[in-house]
Symmetry: C2
DNA sequence: AAGGCGGTTTCAAACGTTTGCAGAAAAATT
DNA sequence: AATTTTTCTGCAAACGTTTGAAACCGCCTT
């Protein structure tokens, strides 16, 4: 077994690999006895502890690779109390929104040797609550959260926070919790977009807003109102409708608008899925987009480019949001008790055909 | 500490909970010393071992709940060698395809107390390889796989299989691996769809096919060819183009078709994303869908309902596929070495406006 | 010659479970 | 009453790592 005595070697393992079924993994014990040193030395070497002589470290790394060693994360976590896993709690995975953010989170986390556990609640608060418990039970080192719009599990999250679990929010930030969050500059962009619709001649702009509990969605509504005010256009309550983020809700709202005979020449929805539903229903009614009605969404993703006509929207830098969220969480994990810091990212306005017959205004931030 | 001696009680823990930061979790040791019994009894009771007297078991369950015990999955896994976690390897999460299947997988797995680890390779074979290694390193009890179309990591999967990791495929089944898979009856549905296009008067049907390595995609192509043959329509190589599954590829193919002056009156793509790209490009060229060109996709999801006009496609029962895959994997895990069994699920044909001006043919399986 | 001091390495005790085996108590058989 | 069987519980050794504290070694200082 021991190299110094010339007995056996890694062939032992290679043989077993091919034969026995559950195949024993190589452990640090194996490396240690192979080199006739103690396990603690091996452990420290592999952890890049500076108390290990350079040659020893290199020798250990080399034989670890030779023997095909893979550290057992279970044992490491059990002993160290850190799982090197963070949880990501999302409220939907139908649109590419979440998956893009997750990609960003992974970029940072995997680089830091941390793996991530994803739970999707599909906008079901009960499922969300269960997911939070899964996170807790999985002993994650921290979690990144995008809550359901209802925000009814805030108490549960507070409990976790009380237990010392680091936590970062993105997308939807619940009012009344002090935790780092990464949000987009929704107000500015929504203002700009409304402004743009007005400048291109629209006067009767419908706004489909989200639930008030979510601060970020409220911002969009506020921007809409303030921009109307700037242009001295009266704020018409009939033109403001609340809906949740789904195409079906969009269709419903469009239907309501058509039925009630309200006259409108633009629709600005707080979510792409709603805007898409609106477009579809208006299409069916024989209305032309954008000639008859301009449509704009918000919080867009690749989806908005796939529909026809391509949808004007505001695209948050999803991947970057994920990366920022990951960085914030790492800060929290590494320095518990550090004060909570927020990050605002810059969303990009995408003026596309759904709002402008000629989608090439000179002030377009990025035209496609 | 010990109840029998009237010392301390759970208040001890409750107190600590509120104060100390990293908050010690309640362990079976705590329960044991609380009741003055051995940890093994507690462990067995909580595992529903039949060697425990009913009253003892109930007592233990009760106090476990009182003390707020939550089993430490790390320790359990380390000792037992089972992680009660299965991996899910997907090649994309942009479309809702994956997330629906994952939902199905979760339905079954969570019911069986198994959690799932999701890795997305975004159709990048290198990332896919890394993800496979993450799975291996995470000591999952088994994995459910939907490979990249390139299929270049098949060797790596074979290695895992050789190490005794149970494995189930869905969606794309690599040729040349014996493992359980769940696939849809693609051939039948593709045949039907082609037939339908021909019956509605289309003669020059373009087929956009996938890479040959994937058996399920080859089926679609075969069905297309066989159906043409049935109608004595010659198979024209110029009308068959290979592309990978993305809207951009769809646009590229459409552009190629327009440029080369090939005449065609229908496009049947092996993937919805391709079909959507085609539609967009044809729209831009001023062609009407379906009047000038009928378009049909395959392997659809909610996405196909969002675009305009709604896309004719074949929708596999995604959730059911996930559930079947999960069941197959559980079989493999519980009875290692059992022979591999395949499951075929029935996909639904959705005739929508993109292929039929009047989407209401009498033989439509489900019209919307 | 005794002591001190870095730089390295080892010892041994955790971490919270599961589980084969032994042992005790109770029940059943002789 | 003595034995066997059955039912239940306890002991203690794992699982593979991390980590504080101790120990060793060679070298320098006094």
């Amino acid at each position: 077994m021991c190299q110094k005595f010339g007995i056996a070697n890694n062939l032992y393992y290679l043989c077993r690999d091919k034969l026995s079924q559950p195949m024993k993994r190589v452990t640090i014990k194996d490396i240690a006895s192979h080199l006739c040193i103690s396990v603690s030395t091996v452990s420290r070497a592999l952890a890049d502890d500076r108390n290990i002589r350079k040659e020893t470290r290199e020798l250990i790394f080399r034989t670890a690779k030779e023997l095909g060693y893979q550290r057992n994360p279970l044992a490491a976590s059990l002993r160290s109390g850190r799982t090197n896993t963070v949880g990501v709690l999302v409220n939907e995975m139908v649109s590419p929104f979440a998956s893009q953010v997750i990609q960003g989170i992974q970029n940072i986390m995997h680089f830091n040797g941390i793996s991530i556990l994803i739970c999707n609640s599909d906008n079901d608060p009960d499922q969300e609550r269960r997911n939070i418990q899964i996170m807790e039970n999985s002993l994650v080192d921290g979690i990144i959260v995008s809550l359901c719009h209802t925000g009814q599990n805030i108490d549960e999250l507070k409990r976790l926070q009380g237990r010392g679990v680091p936590m970062v929010f993105f997308d939807h930030s619940p009012a009344g919790m002090t935790a780092p969050k990464v949000v987009a500059n929704n107000y500015d962009k929504a203002f700009y977009l409304t402004d743009n619709l007005i400048l291109s001649g629209r006067r009767h702009i419908v706004h489909i807003k989200g639930p008030e509990v979510m601060a970020d969605l409220a911002d969009i509504h506020n921007a809409y109102r303030d921009c109307l005010c700037k242009h001295r256009i009266p704020y018409d309550r009939d033109l403001v409708i609340e809906a949740s983020a789904s195409p079906d809700e969009g269709r419903r709202v469009a239907e309501h608008l058509l039925d009630s005979g309200i006259s409108f020449d633009a629709v600005f929805a707080c979510h792409d899925l709603i805007a898409i539903g609106v477009m579809n229903r208006l299409h069916d009614a024989g209305l032309r987009i954008p000639e008859d009605v301009a449509v704009a969404g918000f919080s867009g993703s690749q989806l908005s480019k796939l529909v026809y006509p391509p949808l004007t929207t505001v695209e948050p830098p999803l991947c970057e949001m994920g990366e920022e969220a990951a960085r914030l969480l790492l800060e929290q994990i590494r320095h518990p008790g550090a004060e909570s810091r927020n990050v605002t990212v810059d969303a990009k306005i995408k003026l596309r055909k759904s709002s402008h017959a000629e989608a090439s205004a000179p002030h377009v931030e990025e035209k496609e």
